[in-house]
Symmetry: D2
Subunit: 474 residues, 4 copies
């Protein structure tokens, strides 16, 4: 049998993210969890010989996936198989006392989720910083803003980058509140009533609660569910995965727009050494990485649907109809986002703008881009807004039509408007507006500064973001 | 032509929610917005005669949808049509100065969203309170908790209700942070640079900023986007709609479980006077309202996909490829959630539990439900955990098989285990565990109390929730 | 209370589609169905006086939605309310005998679906024809094909249009097989066993079957489900709605690409008289209709999720958890597709190409677009493929970089390659390839012809498509 | 670095499916494709020495994934890396002439899709047969059909199974037409115009067409796209993946219903030797496999969203924004469906019904299930339908309420109705109806026969289905 790797993990995710979700890593996490429970039980008065704990600790890192799989083929129960394996290695049958499978798996999986979220957060901040760096670099580079994919008014490239960065910042804010309020299930027993732990402690509610406290603390959570059933509510997974999707939105809109700019040769995502654009058309500098960012985003859309499919569909205290789904969607959504962040970091650090091409485009569109200002001036000079609007529109369309038909070579809108008697502006006045247009980027630069200042604040709160560099992407 | 109503609005939503999204309501909102801009412009020094403002104010409430639609059929531009209509009514051409369509529509739509969220929040709290009330009523009613849809351990019905209520509380917490951080686009001009407003004020950045401040304040927002383009990021709509979906998860899981309980006659959603269960089978008391809650939830899943389809797909500074989608998904998702909340309120207030049927079920399952406790006792009495587990399992399966085959009439697990030599417990000891089982609901009641206390805290923060009663649902 | 209309129906759908889904239309359809059942029951021997049938027929078209809604508020059962209303109007209690609600609603809804599919099919063929017409018009207009949004090789605009038309043709083929195999539930009773009808006929299976035959024939279906339960399988709705989504794919890809072309001024979607592009920037000719097509497509994606949410989730013989979902998703998905088809027809009939602008672009890219042919020639002249590929790539990138940096004004790739010794081609040979490039559109024109011929075949099978003109879109 | 396997492939999919999608398998497929092109080019007159072909054939099976990955890390272009690897192994640079990357990848991936569909089809037929076998076994086992999850009318377990089998049969029919009409892209060059192949053959259209013919034939396709661009339309992937989802609907509804039945102990999915239901509650026989089927179905819902996200979003002639998505969604959707089919086969072969428990339930519900027949009899005996309906309903509800309140121990509806004067039936008449009820399963058994006959027809068309046995599932 051929091995089929998880393509998202193998090709696109970072090592740190892979480690959180690897089979071996999870098994070690589980064993640490069992040992922590064992110790807590001992501390709270149960008879657990030191030698038993030592034996389990000694066996903890001996992970043999094949052996576990062989056991599971017999038991057809994955947790049972892993208990048997660990007990066989340790030579004792002491772990998992007063626990049900979900006491183990729910908590360990929530730990994986939390750690993955905590891994994502500074990396997202690093992307914000990369947006800010790029926005600063291009703070004053005037470019035609486009609406409906058509030149509309001047802006700056820096402001455009800040715009997408700000979209991501909104998502970071959501992520931050999610991490802060993410609650863990805890050691709640088969159906959430803590019965088994209470029984272990002779019905002592306080001891069962103390045990739960220690475990939650061991896991590093700050919030706990109160009245949970066998499983924690799957809408919590939806909360997580929809937050991951939201994190990829700013990068995805940015990537889409860079693909559009590349089509006009205004900018490109740059090249790493040795990269080949296309095997057949060597001159092309293709936005492959940007397209990939959009691809991750589309994958995450599907993950949102998967998570939504589980949320709000709990039968009684729970079952495992979510199991295979969560095996796929929890790691894969983190891998996909991880790949999207990594790729965005790369693109933002390598992207190139072409000021000469941008300037050429500006010259072509300046008279049109100035029309709203001309309209304002005309209104200030006494024209009725609606009539002036209509006149400017007519002349602009005529100018465009002639250009498109090859009748004119140059944009002659200024002359047309100067000849129009119902527009109370002279040619000089109109020309002055047009010449100013390239400088009339309004508050664009100030907005870049505002965005960068906000990012700096994030940087202070997440200093570890500073050291994050994009790895080598495929 | 037949009128086709919005079925979600007409059949299921409350009047308050319909008012937020009605065409007339939105037009009045827009006109108020234009007038607010006009006044702010005047205050900041523009020449706007008092008579002009008065004329617009006088015309504000004269909403003639047909006239607007006639204009739009000519202009093929909806905002233009509404400007023309309002100006024709007022007899002036002064509104919308220095504004682009999106300065109007984005802000007014965000205002609708914010108001709808603020409408949803106390209604959600009212649902939490209804969960708490029901949980309190059934705090101590012992019922077999089920995992894999099979009886597992005793719990209480109150705890089960608290479990679903707690799922919803997580979503309320998310909703609360969303409302707190929801940022508005503001008066940012055609591409977000504030150019046109600056031009109006002779390039005065400070005045443009002051104008924006006044408008944001007028709208009642506390946060503002900084570097936005023509449109606010559509991932913000996703944030909203995924939060609405998440709000429906607790109710949906609850509804699913009540449908399951109704199948066992343990509980029903109750009947309103005059209701007919089924035209052909009159004895049936069907969970139609619960099924409807699940239906709303499925609709919201589709809305999440629609919103996800817009998010992260911005081209440059924006366009209207999102327009028709948002016309559908923004109101409809709020209508669907509104209907879900309304229906949940009704079900929670009308639901009936059948203690006699529940008790009958408990008697059947008690010996099985006690097995984990028996296992604990056996381990405490010296048995190896794995062997004892295996023995109990074998006898339990045999007892079940004989019951299922009609070989036994009564659950005889206690006798079987008493005869088993390798279980170091006497028949009396085992029987005592079984008799205790119904009382062994662990921390269930305490969890109900904890949930109710948390809900009380929500009630204090949202006192208006107290007065919300479910309307008459169809 | 404000009326909230179904925005998709009111703004975008055609009258024919609205009529299929209107409340009044459906009630008349139901009443015709009841009368048909009544007549069939009489024909098969039941005692149904002629006067009774006449009374129902007389009352058939008296549709009073308010009265029905008042009844439903009492009964909380919509079918019951409609039975009562019809019986009150007729003065008899004879309809719905031996029927359950779903005998009525399932069949009538399937009839709506079938009629809507039959309505969509010729309209889709009309869109194919519009693609073919446009492809024919631009059959030989050479344009730079783009991959990664960058010019790649010459093609013709006609071929590009045929490409999107062909995508839609695949969906039409699926639609056609769907209509051919779409099966109806039939008169199968409360749980699908036909018990009630058999009871009506004294247990006579043959008469119950004959009744079912007549009804299926009355509905106009050719296939019937055999072992259906209370409801027909909801995966059949998914089949329908996913087919509608698929139909919108070709139009959506086309619309996306026309938006891209408009950004380069190569083409536009054209203008209807009086249309305003943008209230603030009068020169802009925005792709608003194309953006709307993409919007409908995004809506349909959400409908696919809704339909998928119902499919495969049947509990036993069925319930009404699907009810509210289907009330929304069945009509709305047809309205959205209807709007998409209507808009696509309009765009295809109004779109304009700008040959002068296209020619200008071709001149810029010709040398690059010729590189694959140059590579072929170089290989034929003895160069190793990989080395030649690398050399051409290097020179092409250098040429591009200098153009982008403003170092060169003209594309000088021919000179660079001519100077390269390791490329065994003379300048004349290379220049000849470049001059040929614009003519080297391969089989593009032949593919247009092939596509048009295939469309002609569809036109023969659906002659009614010829008369379909786009209505006035907003 | 830990290896992260594709969990769907490793844990759930069959070996045959894994082989289609493995990296090694795909590389061999590609190399065979290149060699086929080389031979066809030679046959059509190009100079390709026999030794070159021999060298490539000799190297064909030497697949070294690490080496290829090392190359890709340099070139950042996966096809380029695989060309280099194959050429290095063969010691020639002759493959991929006149081809673009997509000439290779599109066709090879479509081949994988077609083979996977062809693999799925007989396996789906095997599932139909398993439904038929189970339906036959339980053809006459009377069970209470449920609507709204409440007992409604008698049916047979066989009919219920046939119902879900028929849902799947609808999907098989769609799959069959999909396989029959699935078209391949063919060797169409960089943008679909066949330019490069024509150039290779000196502009000879006929030779390029002949080459394409040979390749399409080599791939085993019967249909071909005509006017395709760089990529085949991604709505074709949606067609495939939505068909896979539809195939899982019947199994998923069946699994859901078996989970419901297990909750009532009417049936279970059975046990394999050594299986453990739950580590803590040994008596439980959990529907883990059924829950897993539902899980696969939820995953496929997400895959539908992913595929829908790509469909209708083509920019110009195409790009690679779909690449990472298709790397995930194509294999994973097939793996998920494969797992669902495999699990369904297992469940259908192992499931157990408990006739004694079913009989006990029937006795409880018989009087209620008979009400529709009693109503019919009452109407035949002269009662007005609406009044009789209301009376029966009232008595039935009273009977239920007393049972639920513990006031009665037995279902006494017959006595209540006998005492009701307005129901023109004697106690004996009513009791006779009730006693008949269990036999009154209408056409249920005949419907089973009809379903089985239809399945037999499928078996004749797909004889290979007969040999398919479920493997050992985890």
């Amino acid at each position: 049998m051929s091995d089929i790797p998880n393509i998202l993990a193998q090709r696109y995710a970072t090592e740190g993210m892979r480690n959180i979700w690897s089979a071996e890593g999870k098994i070690v996490l589980e064993r640490e969890f069992w040992i922590a429970v064992l110790k807590a039980q001992r501390d709270l008065g149960l008879d657990v010989p030191a030698a038993v704990i030592a034996a389990y600790e000694c066996a903890k890192d001996k992970v043999d996936l094949d052996s576990i799989q062989t056991r599971e083929a017999v038991t057809r129960h994955d947790v049972k198989a892993r208990i048997e394996e660990f007990c066989a290695l340790a030579g004792h049958e002491q772990i998992h006392k007063g626990m049900t499978s979900r006491d183990l798996t729910e908590n360990v999986e929530q730990l994986q989720v939390l750690r993955a979220l905590q891994y994502v957060l500074p990396r997202s901040v690093a992307v914000l910083q990369a947006f800010a760096d790029a926005a600063r670099r291009h703070r004053d580079l005037v470019i035609a803003a486009r609406t409906h994919n058509v030149a509309a008014q001047p802006t700056t490239l820096g402001k455009r980058l800040a715009m997408f960065g700000e979209e991501m910042m909104l998502a970071c804010r959501r992520l931050e509140t999610l991490v802060a309020r993410y609650p863990v299930r805890g050691l709640r027993g088969a159906v959430g009533t803590q019965l088994d732990q209470m029984t272990l402690f002779g019905g002592d509610v306080a001891k069962a609660a103390a045990l739960d406290d220690r475990i939650v603390e061991h896991l590093g959570f700050k919030n706990r569910l109160e009245a949970v059933g066998q499983v924690y509510p799957r809408s919590l997974d939806f909360d997580v995965i929809s937050a991951l999707f939201q994190l990829s939105c700013g990068p995805s809109s940015f990537a889409t727009t860079l693909r559009l700019m590349a089509g006009h040769e205004l900018a490109s995502e740059g090249f790493a050494k040795g990269q080949v654009g296309s095997s057949a058309m060597p001159h092309k500098m293709n936005s492959r990485s940007c397209e990939r960012i959009n691809g991750f985003h589309t994958i995450l859309r599907g993950h949102v649907t998967m998570a939504a499919g589980l949320a709000g569909d709990q039968w009684n205290e729970g079952d495992v109809s979510c199991s295979v789904v969560r095996r796929v969607v929890l790691p894969d959504s983190f891998f996909a986002l991880d790949g999207a962040l990594e790729t965005t970091l790369t693109v933002l650090s390598q992207m190139e703008a072409y000021p000469e091409v941008i300037a050429r485009e500006n010259r072509r569109y300046l008279p049109f881009l100035a029309t709203t200002t001309i309209l304002m001036k005309a209104v200030q000079a006494g024209a009725g807004r609606e009539q002036a609007h209509e006149l400017i529109r007519e002349h602009a369309i005529a100018a465009v039509r002639d250009l498109r038909a090859g009748k004119t070579e140059e944009n002659d809108l200024v002359d047309r408007l100067a000849r129009e008697e119902r527009i109370p502006l002279t040619r000089d006045e109109i020309q002055a507006v047009v010449e100013d247009a390239a400088r009339l980027t309004g508050a664009a630069a100030a907005q870049v500064d505002g965005f960068c200042a906000a990012v700096d604040d994030w940087g202070k709160r997440y200093p570890q973001a500073a050291g994050i560099e994009p790895g080598r992407i495929l």
